[in-house]
Each structure stands twice: as structure tokens, then as C-alpha cells.
């Protein structure tokens, strides 16, 4: 497995810019455990309609989930592949308002199934044994257990899906902060939902947003918000807004380069957990008012990165 790179990015001139960064947690380093998080960012187009797809995943990491490092990497791969497929299959054939309901109806089931297919391939290639599916919460894929957050920015729409913990925050150009998938209060202090949970396809929560005036979409594993005051906590949201301010002041590339050090520091001082953050600067839809967050990178071809693969 390649050593992690400082950050990976993807860009589409019409839609915006995305970068992601994943770091092994301080406690993982102390116990010689690898980073069990993964992320992927992708940009490309189908039929001249561009999209940006992102995904982050947090492998559970304990001895029961001993393959979760691979599980999280397969999760982000499955998410991006499914999002690309969804984009290709639907963008030209259905009305825009149906796109959202089709995403809500299909994505959870299809991406969960795709992840399991990828796990089965890995199981076959590496001759790993899987326990049989049980009635007490696992679907037979426990060793690969992982959370997953995925988002697709396409046309005038932002589509988001999440299973398990982690955070998605959208900061609009006027400073309004939206948490499109509210934190799951029922599960506080309990084991998180997982791709390896029984009925995983039912455990997803989805949100669909207008791209509108654009803004900044931040997706992070729980190690990041746990270094502050948890999901939707005021300190965590202050951190998110400070990231946006730094991007506006210093540019997205500078922030991307600094992210590695910031995450290492937060992990060292606070949660100790693995840290993964994907940051997307989303351009406004043409004709919408609002400050235009300028992409500074070169217009890329299809870029796929899966940290921790």
C-alpha cells in the first residue's frame, strides 16, 4: 500500500474544486495501527454534463473489524463508482426533480450492494473468511465494517448519502451553515451504523440540496468533530467556518497543503482518532448571485484518488 499523500484533489471548471486529506490518528500511531479512514474525490463528465463525486469512510478498526482498512477503501471506491454510474444513467433521461427522488430511492440499496460485491472480490483474492450472517446486527461482512459518506455535485443539485457517523456541513457564501443530515442523537454513545450492519441498505440517511449560490461542502470522519465538541457542536462549526475563511483568504491550495498538519495536531491534542476531511468549493449555478469561490487548480481530467487503498 502506498504511503498517504498530503492531499488529493479534483476539479471541474464549471462546478468547483475538491480536495481531501486523510491522516492516521495519534493513538493509532502510538499503537502502530494504520489509518483506517479512506476518501475519494473524482471529477469528470458524461455527455458534457460535469459532476464532482466525493466519499469518505471510517473503518471501525477494532479486532472484530480487522479488515476495515480495506473495507473503508472499498467503500469510497463503491460510492464513487455508484455515483458516477448514477450520473451517467440518469442525467439525460429523467427530469431534474425526479433525479433527487431516484437518488433517495436507489443509491442506498445499490451502493451497499456494490460495496459487498467489492468485498467479495477481495475475500476471494486474499482468501479471507467471512463469518455467516447473523440475526444480531451483522450481515456477514463484519470484518470489513465501515461508515460511508458520499456526495455528488451535478447540475443544480447536491446529492448526499450517509451511513454511520461523520459530518457533512455546507457553508453558503452568505455564511449560513447547513447540516443537511442532522446528527443521529439516538445513537449517541452507541456503536455506529455500518455498511456491515444488518439491513445496511435501510440505515442510510440522504439529503438533496440546491446548488444555488454554491458554497463550501465539508465532509469529515468523526475524528474531526470529536476533536471539538462533536457533530453540530458550536466549536466544530466554528472550525468549519474558519476553514472557509482561510480558503477565501489564502486560496484552496494553501489550505489543502496545510490540512495535513492541522489534522495531525488536532488528533494529537484531542481525539487521537484517524482524521479525514474532504473540502469542496462549489461554484454558484450560472445566474445565481453570490460570491464565486474561484477554483485555482488546472482543469483536470478524471481524477480518482482512494486514500488508504
Amino acid at each position: 500500500m502506498d504511503p498517504p499523500r498530503p492531499f488529493l484533489s479534483a476539479c471541474d471548471p464549471a462546478l468547483g474544486w475538491a480536495f481531501g486529506c486523510s491522516r492516521a490518528g495519534a493513538s493509532h500511531i502510538r499503537s502502530s495501527r494504520p489509518c483506517e479512514d479512506a476518501f475519494a474525490v473524482w471529477s469528470g463528465s458524461s455527455g458534457a454534463i460535469p459532476c464532482i463525486a466525493i466519499a469518505i469512510a471510517d473503518g471501525h478498526g477494532d479486532p472484530r473489524h480487522d479488515q476495515s482498512r480495506t473495507g473503508s477503501a472499498l467503500a469510497v471506491q463503491a460510492a464513487v463508482d455508484e455515483l458516477i454510474g448514477f450520473h451517467r444513467m440518469h442525467m439525460h433521461t429523467i427530469p431534474r426533480h425526479i433525479l433527487r427522488s431516484e437518488f433517495r430511492a436507489d443509491f442506498p440499496r445499490r451502493v451497499t450492494r456494490r460495496w459487498r460485491d467489492y468485498v467479495q472480490v477481495d475475500v476471494g483474492q486474499r482468501e479471507i473468511s467471512l463469518p455467516p450472517a447473523g440475526n444480531t446486527g451483522n450481515n456477514g461482512y463484519t470484518r470489513y465494517g465501515s461508515t460511508l459518506i458520499a456526495a455528488l455535485i451535478v447540475g443544480d443539485t447536491i446529492l448526499i448519502g450517509q451511513i454511520g457517523d461523520g459530518d457533512v456541513v455546507l457553508v453558503r457564501p452568505d455564511g449560513t451553515v447547513e447540516c443537511p443530515i442532522p446528527c443521529d442523537t439516538q445513537l449517541m454513545g452507541m456503536e455506529t451504523q455500518s455498511l456491515s450492519s444488518r439491513d445496511a441498505h435501510l440505515l442510510w440517511r440522504t439529503a438533496t440540496l440546491d446548488r444555488g449560490a454554491g458554497g463550501f461542502l465539508i465532509a469529515a470522519t468523526d475524528g474531526v468533530s470529536d476533536s471539538f465538541d462533536g457533530s453540530e457542536g458550536p466549536e466544530f462549526l466554528k472550525f468549519v467556518k474558519s476553514l472557509v475563511a482561510r480558503v477565501n483568504e489564502f486560496g484552496i491550495e494553501s489550505v489543502a497543503w496545510s490540512m495535513k498538519g492541522w489534522l495531525d495536531r488536532y488528533s494529537e491534542l484531542a481525539s487521537g482518532d484517524d482524521m479525514t476531511l474532504v473540502f469542496v468549493s462549489i461554484n454558484p449555478v450560472e445566474g445565481e448571485c453570490g460570491p464565486k469561490p474561484g477554483p485555482e487548480g488546472t482543469a483536470g481530467d478524471e481524477v480518482l484518488s482512494t486514500e488508504g487503498w
Binding site: 454510474g85 444513467m89 440518469h90 433521461t93 429523467i94 426533480h97 425526479i98 433527487r100 427522488s101 431516484e102 433517495r104 430511492a105 436507489d106 440499496r109 445499490r110 451497499t112 450492494r113 450472517a133 440475526n135 450481515n139 456477514g140 447547513e178 443521529d184 439516538q186 445513537l187 451504523q193 444488518r198 439491513d199 445496511a200 441498505h201 435501510l202 440505515l203 442510510w204 440517511r205 440522504t206 438533496t208 440540496l209 440546491d210 444555488g212
Partner: protein
């Protein structure tokens, strides 16, 4: 342009001004905002520019003027109350009541364990109210055209429901609308482009929604959907429209549930369904696909859910709810597998068809048990309740909670009047006459081997 916080909007018919407090959410057609008026907080659905068409404006004004269906059934619709506009803009929205999202849940929230899972009693109530409200809507000459889980909210504890996004309601077989529903809820003839949305196609969507509520699965998601690597529009058209096959079709195994852990819950929940509900789902998703005239009507659904709710009893060992059998066959608790003792029954002979109520402490006899409820009334008013005897342990009676006296005939032929507030002992063979309807208390059926 979306609305801004603090911006003022005006209700066109009343002339009332509201100011925008915050955004509550986004849908496929627009955003929903919390607004404050002179007296109360309400909500405004604000259409996106491309959805704010003259046709949509006329449709909203029509719905505002028409009002929701009458009575309890109509009050469950979160109906447009007024057209809302903003000065200097062609965009518009409509005013509606604010939904208590702490109390009411979406099905997806239940699946994701964000809100509690409704028990069987609540599930019966949710299903009954759904059928009751759509019956009232259809009787008023309208069709909904977008029935789906996304438009339903329910109280998981009581089963009370709200039906949202009513701006797509239109006159049956006359008006056009901008939204024709999501494909998984669409009647096959709409997908095949051989029919427009109508009350008849609503019946298919209602059946799919009820199946989702009970089985947590789509009725056509079996081997066919599982086998499609590319789940694109042609694939969906085939599964939902061109060759739909029910996953539990007893005569056609082509689309059975695949042997995959993802389908375990659907299998289990199907087995929890009482037999008459299974039979009805089979009818609607086999004969009802081939012949829309064979679809299950809202009234039939009402009767089924009222009937199965009346047979709910608690397992004495684990307290899990079970649907009691009335044929005397042995039954085990679905949860702990303990043998269930058959409860005493109340057999009700009604002009609209007989029904049976399983009697246990707290069981209620409701108005709908003794008379066919009109479409605008859910018939939930309580006529009588099974109560324990105040001094004899284990003995129970049925207390008259109506405003009229009952006539009781005991097994020995003696007759008496049971005035409001008094109870009649729960003795098998006793007959009650309530508003001209005969109700007979029957002993538990002796167990027989199945």
C-alpha cells in the same frame, strides 16, 4: 430566487403579511420556510423559478378555494391555505401548517433508527388513516398523483398521520400536474404510457406505500432488480411497468426474493403480516397489475386494517403484540415463540359485514365497529372498553362509554339495560345490542392442531 431570512411575503387572499424566520428544508420543487404571521408560526413552500408556472399558481388557488376533504380524514392533509407572493417577483409559494417534526416521523427515519419503530397497533392505525384519508380525497373527486413514503409522516406511538405536499392534488382525469410521482410508486400503465394519473393509479401507489410500511421492501424488488447490474431507466421500466412480478406471487416464482441477507427483513416482516393482509397484497400485486379494476379500494384497506387491529393481543410471556387467530388453530408468539392462549372474542354482526374483536383488558369498541364510517370520519370514537372487575381478580366486563343505553341478553335468557357508564360481565354467550347491531361474546376457541 429563494427567500431570505427576515424577508416579508404576503398571503394573497387574506392580505396577511408574514416574515421568514428560517429555512426548514428542500424538496424537489422548492424550499420550505418557517414564517411568522400575526398569530402563529406557519410554513411556506416556495417554488423554484422553473416550477412557479401559471398552471401551478392556478392549481394552488384552486386547492386553496376548494379546501381539504371534510372532517378528520381531511385534516390529515397539510393543505395549501393561501397563495404566498413576494413583492417584485413572479415567484410564489403557498402557506401551510407547520409540521411537528419531533412528533412525526418519515419512514426513512424509522428505518435509520432515528425515530421509533411503530408497533403493530400503530402500524394498523397508520395504514387505516392513510386509506381513510385517500378515500375521502378520492370521493371529493380528486386524485393525489404522487403517493409515496416521502409524502407521509406519522406519529410512531399513536399512528396519527399527516399527508404532505398536497400541491399535486388535481381533479380526477381532468387536470394536469408537474409531478407524476416517482417510478417505484407509479402504476404500470403510467410507466407504459397507456394511462394518465387518476384515482385508479393512486390505488396502486397506495398499495406500494402500504407494502413498504409493513414489509419495508418494494413489492417488485426481487431477482429481477437484483440481476440488473445497470439500474437505469429501461431496467426500471421493465421491473415497475412492462413486466412487474410480485416478489411473493404464489404462482409466479420469476421474481422471488434472492437468497441474500439484505432480504432477510423483508422475509421476516412478510411472515408477521396476518393472512388476510398477505392475501390482499397478493391480489393487488397480481390481479391488480393485470386488471386495474381489481385493485384494492381504500374502503377494503380500511376494513382490513380495522379488522386486523381488532385481533391484536399481547403475548403473556414477552408482551409482544400478536394477531390472534380466530379459527382455533394453535398459535405461537412471533417474538418468543411461547404458545398463545386464544382470547375471548366479540363477534359483531353488521349490515356491512361481520367482524370479530379479540377481547383483552383495555380493548376498545369504536364507532367504526358498529357502523360504516363515512369517508370524512375515522370512526375512532370509543363506544365501550373492556375493564377489569373492581373487586373480583381475573373477572372483566365491557363498560358502556357511549351516550345511549345498550340491551344485554345473558346466556340464560335474562335481559337487562346497560346504561352509559355501567359494564356488562364478559361472559361467553352474552349478547349486546348497540344501535341495532348485535354483538356476541364468544369463548376462546379450543386449541386444535394445525
Amino acid at each position: 430566487m429563494p427567500l431570505a431570512i427576515g424577508e416579508r411575503v404576503k398571503a394573497e387572499l387574506t392580505g396577511t403579511e408574514y416574515h421568514v424566520i428560517r429555512k426548514l428544508g428542500e424538496g424537489t420543487q422548492g424550499e420550505v420556510y418557517l414564517v411568522e404571521g400575526p398569530q402563529v408560526h406557519q410554513a411556506v413552500k416556495w417554488y423554484k423559478a422553473e416550477q412557479a408556472t401559471p398552471e401551478q399558481r392556478a392549481a394552488i388557488l384552486y386547492l386553496v378555494r376548494t379546501g381539504p376533504p371534510y372532517g378528520a380524514a381531511g385534516r390529515r392533509f397539510v393543505w395549501p391555505l393561501d397563495l404566498v407572493t413576494r413583492e417584485g417577483s413572479d415567484q410564489f409559494g403557498y402557506l401551510m401548517m407547520q409540521i411537528d417534526t419531533q412528533r412525526y416521523a418519515e419512514l426513512g427515519e424509522v428505518w435509520a433508527h432515528v425515530k421509533p419503530v411503530p408497533n403493530f397497533s400503530s402500524l394498523c392505525e397508520i395504514s387505516y388513516q392513510l386509506a381513510n384519508s385517500y378515500r375521502a380525497l378520492h370521493l371529493s373527486g380528486h386524485c393525489y398523483r404522487d403517493i409515496s413514503a416521502g409524502n407521509l409522516m406519522f406519529d410512531p406511538h399513536t399512528g396519527d398521520i399527516l399527508i404532505c405536499d398536497n400541491d399535486n392534488v388535481g381533479v380526477n382525469r381532468q387536470s394536469r400536474c408537474q409531478v407524476w410521482g416517482t417510478m417505484e410508486y407509479m402504476a404500470p400503465e403510467i410507466i407504459r404510457d397507456s394511462a394518465d394519473p387518476s384515482t385508479q393509479t393512486d390505488l396502486h401507489s397506495l398499495a406500494v406505500l402500504l407494502f413498504y410500511l409493513w414489509v419495508w421492501h418494494h413489492p417488485f424488488h426481487g431477482e429481477m432488480e437484483y440481476g440488473f447490474h445497470c439500474w437505469d431507466i429501461p431496467a426500471k421500466k421493465k421491473v415497475y411497468g412492462e413486466s412487474p412480478v410480485f416478489v411473493f406471487d404464489p404462482d409466479n416464482p420469476a421474481n422471488r426474493l434472492p437468497p441474500d441477507p439484505d432480504y432477510a427483513t423483508a422475509r421476516e416482516r412478510w411472515e408477521y403480516c396476518p393472512q388476510e393482509l398477505k392475501d390482499t397484497f397478493i391480489r393487488v400485486f397480481t390481479e391488480g397489475l393485470r386488471d386495474p379494476g381489481r385493485r384494492v379500494t381504500e374502503g377494503e384497506w380500511q376494513t382490513i386494517f380495522s379488522s386486523v387491529k381488532d385481533r391484536l393481543v399481547r403475548c403473556p410471556k414477552c408482551r409482544a403484540e400478536n394477531f390472534a387467530r380466530t379459527d382455533g388453530r394453535a398459535q405461537a408468539c412471533w417474538h418468543c415463540h411461547a404458545t398463545l392462549v386464544s382470547p375471548p372474542l366479540l363477534r359483531i354482526e353488521r349490515p356491512v359485514g361481520d367482524t370479530t374483536l379479540a377481547l383483552s383488558s383495555g380493548t376498545t369498541i369504536r364507532r367504526r365497529h358498529i357502523s360504516l364510517s363515512p369517508a370524512n370520519d375515522d370512526g375512532s370514537s370509543i363506544v365501550g372498553t373492556v375493564v377489569p372487575h373492581p373487586s373480583i381478580p381475573g373477572a372483566a366486563g365491557i363498560r358502556n362509554q357511549s351516550s345511549t343505553p345498550w340491551h344485554a341478553v345473558f346466556p340464560d335468557g335474562n335481559k337487562t339495560i346497560v346504561p352509559p357508564g355501567r359494564a356488562v360481565p364478559l361472559n361467553p354467550g352474552t349478547t349486546l345490542i348497540i344501535d341495532g347491531v348485535t354483538l356476541t361474546i364468544a369463548a376462546p376457541e379450543p386449541p386444535v392442531n394445525s
